[in-house]
């Protein structure tokens, strides 16, 4: 298992492994100690100088001591510089790597945009070529669905089974990078298909003004989908289900991940578990504080069902729209008494992390921290005034669906979950597994990089000196308009 973490962000371009950042910090600490020791030896030397000792008739060992002190001072002088130079070299390499990586991403994005535009421009031609084959194909699908009513679902299940058996195709950093660039180019494909001049598409896109991009593409799907009965939004209702007396506050990222609720379907097809958990912290004379934990996608069907934590909400949230799952969390927060002034931290896994980042960055709340785990948050500028930590696997395609990272304030912790080991059979996207992210969260908790440990300390400090009064879990459902 690869336990190596790559850390970036925190307001810096630097990208490096946790080990490299920790080494740089250690060398800076050594340099500081050497500077202190050199100054201390200078003061010690002035206590009893060699001429004074000789004049006083001190024994030869006193003179030997002076010579050893002089030798140590000489050594420390050069060592001080050497430790500083090594630390600087490490920091510079991390900064240089980060800038080169950012430049490479820009080039890849430009290339993907050009390819996307060309592909879009060819789509009408391809459609014209394929048009004669479409009627018999559609007729076949229609007949098939009449003869085998369950056929579409079986086909989807079959695709899932095939991906589960061939999950290495998607579980690798190369495929994930291609997906990320593909997502960033959807607006270019659409522009090409509509015949919009390439310069105009480029100017509006992420490579230019950023007006068109992942959000506008998702918005287009959300606008067009309902015409085919897909991605149609509904009203939602949220109900408190379980309330317990609060326990100790969370410490670190792994404990936060453990508190995120899970909504699952049981063997008999019934939903179980909750969507949102809200912990209330109190202290005399202080405003109540809240930790909000949000679950991931429970229903991957493009047709909205009863569960609002579905694909419809995924696409809607990425479009920046008030998707059903976002409204469900807001309803739960209102029922908990959270106002715009209430200090609140958001933690979420997968879609829950996307919602956590969206609400945290919305400006509608007094956000004091965001933790998003395995979430497509690339285009959301989160962090800055408050600590924000994003955990992503470089071989997990889900975070890639959010496109390239647009901000540098959040601390991004990355790990290749399946580097150098086999993927489990039968799991379509194993790198998105919650257990794998728990391992990453544990490693992040144990990491030595100062920017990460500071962020985790700030997250933990949010509830310092307060009592966890209650932990309330909520369940949401879609309701007819």
């Amino acid at each position: 298992m690869s336990d190596s973490l790559t850390i970036s962000g925190g307001g810096s371009y630097a990208v490096a492994s946790d080990t490299l950042f920790t080494d740089a910090q250690a060398l800076e600490a050594v340099r500081d100690e050497l500077s202190w020791a050199a100054a201390a030896l200078g003061r010690i030397d002035s206590l009893a100088g060699e001429p004074a000792l000789r004049g006083a008739g001190a024994p030869p060992s006193a003179i030997d001591a002076e010579r050893e002190i002089a030798r140590a001072r000489h050594l420390l002088g050069s060592l001080d510089d050497r430790a500083g130079a090594l630390a600087f070299a490490l920091r510079a390499s991390a900064e240089g790597y980060g800038r080169a990586d950012a430049a490479a991403r820009r080039v890849a994005q430009d290339l993907a945009a050009s390819l996307g535009y060309s592909l879009g421009a060819l789509l009408p031609v391809l459609a014209a070529v394929a048009a004669p084959a479409l009627p018999p194909l559609l007729a076949g699908v229609l007949v098939g669905s009449l003869v085998f009513p369950d056929g579409m679902r079986r086909a989807a299940d079959g695709l899932g089974d095939w991906l589960g058996s061939n999950n290495r195709l998607l579980t690798n950093p190369v495929a994930v990078t291609l997906i990320r660039n593909g997502v960033m180019s959807i607006d270019d494909v659409i522009g090409g298909a509509l015949g919009v001049p390439p310069a105009f598409v480029r100017t509006l896109g992420a490579e230019g003004l950023g007006v068109a991009g992942v959000a506008s593409s998702a918005g287009l799907f959300t606008a067009l989908g309902p015409r085919a009965g897909l991605l149609a939004e509904t009203a939602v209702a949220t109900h408190p289900r379980v309330q317990r007396d609060g326990g100790p506050p969370p410490r670190g990222l792994a404990e936060r991940l453990d508190r995120i609720p899970q909504r699952v379907t049981t063997a008999d097809g019934e939903p179980a578990g909750q969507h949102v958990r809200i912990e209330r912290y109190t202290a005399p004379g202080r405003a109540d504080r809240f930790e909000v934990y949000i679950t991931g996608t429970a229903d991957f069907s493009p047709r909205a069902g009863a569960d609002p934590f579905d694909l419809t909400s995924d696409v809607g949230t990425m479009a920046g729209l008030p998707a059903g799952a976002v409204r469900a969390v807001e309803q739960a927060m209102r029922q908990e008494g959270i106002t715009a002034a209430s200090p609140v931290q958001f933690t979420g896994y997968s879609q829950g992390g996307l919602i956590a980042a969206t609400l945290g960055a919305s400006g509608d709340y007094n956000t004091q921290g965001v933790v998003a785990i395995g979430s497509p948050t690339g285009q959301i500028a989160v962090g800055g005034d408050y600590p924000a930590v994003l955990l992503e696997h470089t071989d997990d395609l889900v975070p890639a669906l959010g496109g390239n990272r647009s901000g540098h304030d959040a601390i991004l912790v990355e790990r290749e979950a399946f580097a150098g080991r086999e993927t489990p059979d039968g799991v379509a996207v194993p790198a998105h597994d919650r257990g794998e992210y728990r391992r990453t969260a544990q490693l992040a908790d144990e990491a030595g990089s100062a920017q990460l440990t500071r962020a985790i300390d700030r997250l933990d400090g949010f509830t310092a000196g307060m009592t966890n009064e209650t932990a309330t879990s909520y369940v949401a459902e879609r309701v007819a308009r």
């Binding site: 050497l34 020791a37 001190a58």
Partner: protein, 118 residues
């Protein structure tokens, strides 16, 4: 002026080892207290204590020097970094050795002066 007849070399001990502090043998026995020697003895005692603190800080700094085997990079840059870190560690070992020797010599000198002062 009293002179020692034998002098132990400060070298030849492993780094970090502390020799037993013995007064150096002298030709003459106790002589009347010399204010300059008295002051030198006090300065050397303070020096010995300060050196002990400095040696402790340097040893803790030595423990913080990275191993130089960064896991995520390889090649020429990694080898240069590893060599630099090794050099730093070796140099720090020498500096600690010198400070410890200076501490031992100071202690020895203090003991010798105490003997001379009777």
């Amino acid at each position: 002026m009293p002179r020692s007849v034998a002098r132990a070399s400060p070298r030849g001990r492993p780094p970090g080892s502390i020799a037993r502090v013995n007064a150096e043998p002298t030709l003459s026995a106790a002589i009347p207290p010399d204010p300059a020697l008295l002051a030198a003895g006090a300065a050397l005692a303070a020096q010995r204590a300060a050196l002990a603190v400095a040696a402790g800080r340097l040893e803790s700094a030595r423990a913080r020097v990275p191993a130089g085997a960064a896991d995520s990079w390889r090649g020429v840059a990694q080898r240069a970094y590893a060599a630099g870190v090794n050099d730093l560690g070796r140099g720090l070992d020498e500096a600690i050795h010198s400070v410890r020797l200076a501490q031992q010599c100071s202690a020895r000198a203090v003991a010798t002066i105490a003997v001379r002062m009777g």
